[in-house]
Subunit: 205 residues, 2 copies
């Protein structure tokens, strides 16, 4: 059964992004603090169609597995705009449904990534993603606002947070946008390497 | 080498306690949410010198290990006052140094728990705890304010947070009291059962 999930990096004090985000300053500049564990992995740079990273450990396997399980993405307009300027061709290797008010033709890339621009709401984006994903899973990619909408709307089956051992002190606190009254969580996974703890939860209603 | 540590329960959104704490309302009433994994364990109730709990799993072993490693405790006045009214005799089975302005004779209990009331500051309490602990470890027990003082003062070698899969939305955010500029963290442990993730960090300076 296809699952709907999100998979995000957080600081130990719960921030998913810093202040003053823009396409020129994605994530408010905190990506090196939160995502260092990814940047160290060859698997991460392979997906960016370049080389980099010194390591190929269980953290790299995890990166590959998340790409492999995902049959379709749903993305917010702001995240798309932050990424559009720098993502390489065919980063996602699956359809990406971008929720936006902008009317725009699909952006078909070489390979299997196509960005579709959805103007008629989250349920419409979800149905299209479900049809595309087949037996694979649907990833609600981000940003925070989009994940909150789908979480609070009852769409999310499970999620993983990658908790970096850093404190940021300011920015967007991820869990502040979650409606606390509508669900229960069960811890279904925890593992670590020195730069990160990977925690996975299933969501009950 | 004897270590200095703290070991606390947090909600997934980072709260160590709720609002309106008092001896009549310890932890602001959120203990059932944060500590359910402990309350399910026989080991927890054994230490309270009573019976309770349905389970005796790795979570119970963890409770026993934390008591076993601890040779002395340092505690804040407020936590002591919240607990004094309800703790059973000899709960801690080691000396407990309570930082307070109250002048009071040591409270010697049956067994090996003695509460000492320290009026001349955190360094004095620490030195007494170190002398008592011998080769065992020193636990900075709580509350949050006391842990912040010792963490920010550079005393803490490692810590464990037990993250419950619940969101509280308000109360005392534990990491807000940590001075972010003075240390680095390494993730050295992560495990889980359905009701909790146990994350352990070492502190570098």
């Amino acid at each position: 059964m296809s699952k709907v999930f999100f998979d995000i990096g957080l600081s130990l004090d719960g921030f998913i992004a810093g202040e003053n985000r823009s396409p020129q300053n994605p994530m408010g500049g905190v990506a090196p603090a939160i995502h260092q564990w990814m940047f160290n992995q060859k698997a991460f740079w392979e997906h960016l169609k370049t080389t980099g990273g010194e390591e190929d450990t269980e953290d790299g396997d995890r990166i590959r597995q998340v790409f492999a399980r995902t049959g379709a993405y749903i993305m917010g307009k702001r995240m798309f705009e932050e990424g559009e300027v720098s993502w390489p061709e065919d980063l996602f290797m699956a359809p990406v449904y971008v929720l936006t008010h902008e009317k725009r033709e699909p952006w078909v890339q070489k390979g299997s990534t196509t960005f579709y621009f959805i103007n008629d709401g989250m349920e419409s984006a979800f149905e299209k993603a479900r049809a595309s994903a087949g037996k694979k899973d649907i990833r609600v990619q981000g940003g925070a606002n989009l994940i909150w909408q789908y979480f609070n709307g009852g769409y999310i089956d499970e999620f993983t947070i990658h908790v970096a051992p850093v404190l940021l002190g300011s920015g967007i606190r991820f869990f502040d946008g979650i409606d606390r009254t509508t669900f229960s969580l069960k811890t279904i996974g925890a593992s670590h390497t020195p730069l990160v703890s990977h925690l996975t939860y299933s969501v009950g209603r």
